[in-house]
Amino acid sequence: MSLDKDQVQHIATLARLKLSAEECAESVEKLSRIVEFVAQLSQVDTRGVLPMAHPLETAQRLRADAVIEVNERDRYQENAAEVSDGLYLVPKVLD
């Protein structure tokens, strides 16, 4: 089980990661080894085994429907690279 360059590039795009040519070549090699390593799971007989999504077996707790947050926009936006009139800015989005 190994990955080729196109697959790695496709994954990188899905994950929104720009890879240099070197990084891509290295990723092909290392990801192939990782995928090969985890592929040993396919040998395990798991017929009838329920998938375990979480270590806790309890149910989701619910909170009351109450507004407890106040406006702290300015403080929260101190970490943002570009804001204007309270909006976070990104390059123009095309729909």
């Binding site: 899905l14 929104r16 999504a53 979480h54 806790l56 309890t58 149910a59 989701q60 707790r61 619910l62 909170r63 009351a64 429907d65 109450a66 507004v67 407890i68 947050e69 406006n71 702290e72 926009r73 929260y76 936006q77 570009e82 204007s84 009139d85 309270g86 909006l87 976070y88 800015l89 990104v90 390059p91 123009k92 989005v93 095309l94 729909d95």
Partner: protein, 481 residues
């Protein structure tokens, strides 16, 4: 080429914002219209380290909806992450439900083109968080992101492809719209985006089992647009196929200015959402007791209410339909009926007629009507006991609307009480006949329709206050002598 040579297949996905005070996973307000990002807390912004905690109200509301459409409420349902990058999606994933939604296998009945009842299956309804908004205007090469809406609870209601025309689609959507407002789980405000719809549209030759390739229409935010967009899309697909082309499975955006649909650029890349169970949230468990307790709070639903209005109030079906289209209108009507001795059809006529017109004119909801239900009942009572005529009543209603007081106060103040004293009316009638001997002679010679002229003269003399029935009778008596 006529459309009828093709069978149209439509399925809807309706996104209903739930009317909670706070967001689905955070304690930020869901109020509409706040300044950008002032209602986006750390959870809504997807800050590092923060975690979602589920709002109990969304579970109650989804359960209520499920029960209203005769669906199964899942004893155990699961939140999943839908992964994709978009600026209005701060975490890079949307918390939604995928394999185990909270509501499944519901149904709803609409009236089809032939007036027959048609069952539309509801595949599922699942909970998810709304995204923020991108603002493109006036930012010079940039888009601005407002995350106030991010995290607002949505119930996505998905129908089976059981709808066969734009009209049926609208009927289904209107019905859902009425139900969610009846249940009080959504304000259904389409301008504010509280109630939105995507439509999956395909066509196939009649008799063909297999479905045609569908296009998903997005951004349908008014009933009018949905109808136009679906009709446009159906024609586009038919033309395409008849010209030897193929419909592409794609997402298309409806442009209301141009009345056309076009493929969305941002959706060109094949999506791979990589759904998996959200490890920050545990399965939602709903007990039979909770379902029973919720069921006990189910209000009477529109179909049942309309039926009851037709039977109990002996209303015309169309009128019962109008009165039950919203719970508030139905409640108002029933309050009027309860407080008045007038015939129920008269009450219906007034609510549908004068009252609705006045509300529309002033842009008011019925809950904020300037004439309350018991006040209107007071007016109807005066019609009923012949204190005033229907015509005078309209005048009184306008005064009531203007805040001049109750019906009785206005009638007294303006001296509008109807004249029912036969002697008084006879005196006026005599006077009118005396003043118009020529017409009286013509009437007596057989020109019956002159009676209208005499009635008009008497009403004019009495400033409209004489009881029209009595005037008619007395005139006929005197003129025939």
């Amino acid at each position: 080429m006529s459309v009828s040579a093709w069978e149209v297949v439509i399925g809807l996905e309706i996104h209903t914002q739930l009317a909670t005070k706070s967001k689905i996973f955070s304690g930020a307000s869901t109020a509409y219209g706040a300044e950008a990002n002032t209602q986006a807390c750390l959870v809504d912004l997807g800050y590092p380290g923060v975690l979602p905690v589920l709002n109990v109200e969304v579970i109650r509301m989804a359960t209520l909806f499920g029960l209203a459409v005769n669906a199964t409420i899942a004893p155990r349902s699961v939140f999943a992450r839908k992964n994709y990058f978009y600026p209005d999606l701060p975490k890079g994933y949307q918390i939604s439900q995928y394999e185990l939604p909270i509501v499944e296998h519901g149904e709803l009945f609409i009236t089809d083109a032939e007036g027959k009842e048609k069952r539309i299956r509801i595949t599922r309804a699942h909970l998810e968080e709304d995204a923020g908004k991108s603002i493109h205007e006036g930012l010079d090469g940039s888009s601005g992101i407002d995350l106030n809406r991010a995290g607002t609870p949505l119930l996505e209601i998905v129908s089976e492809p059981d709808l066969s025309s734009a009209k049926e689609a609208i009927a289904f959507m209107k019905k859902i719209h009425t139900i969610v407002r009846y249940l009080g789980i959504s304000d259904g405000n389409m301008q504010e985006g509280s109630f939105r719809c995507d439509a999956n549209v395909s066509v196939r030759p009649p008799g063909q089992e297999e479905l045609g390739t569908r296009a998903e229409l997005k951004n349908l935010n008014s009933f009018r647009f949905i109808e136009k967009a679906i009709n446009f899309e159906v024609e586009r697909q038919i033309e395409l196929i008849e010209d030897g082309g193929k419909v592409a499975q794609e997402t298309r955006l409806y442009d209301s200015d141009k009345n056309e649909t076009r493929a969305m650029r941002s959706k060109e890349e094949a999506n791979d959402y990589r759904y998996f169970p959200d490890p920050d949230l545990l399965p939602i468990e709903i007990s039979a007791e909770f379902i029973a307790a919720t069921r006990a709070t189910l209000p009477e639903l529109p179909d049942a209410k309309q039926q009851r209005f037709e039977t109990d109030y002996e209303l015309k079906s169309a009128d019962a339909g109008i009165l039950t289209a919203s719970r508030a209108t139905a409640d108002y009507f029933e309050a009027v009926v309860a407080a008045s001795d007038a015939k129920t059809q008269l009450a219906a006529n007034w609510v549908i007629g004068e009252l609705s017109a006045a509300l529309n004119r002033d842009g008011l909801e019925i809950d904020n009507s300037k004439v309350a239900a018991d006040a209107l009942a007071g007016l109807l009572n005066r019609i009923h006991d012949n204190t005033i005529s229907g015509k005078i009543a309209k005048q009184v209603f306008e005064a009531m609307w203007a805040g001049e007081g109750s019906a009785d106060e206005i009638i007294a103040a303006q001296g509008l009480r109807q004249i029912t004293d036969s002697a008084a009316i006879e005196a006026v009638v005599d006077k009118v006949i005396d003043a118009n001997p020529g017409q009286a002679a013509e009437y007596r010679a057989g020109k019956d329709k002159l009676i209208g002229f005499f009635v008009g003269q008497v009403m004019k003399e009495t400033q409209g206050q004489a009881n029209p029935g009595q005037v008619n009778q007395i005139l006929k008596d005197k003129l025939s002598k």
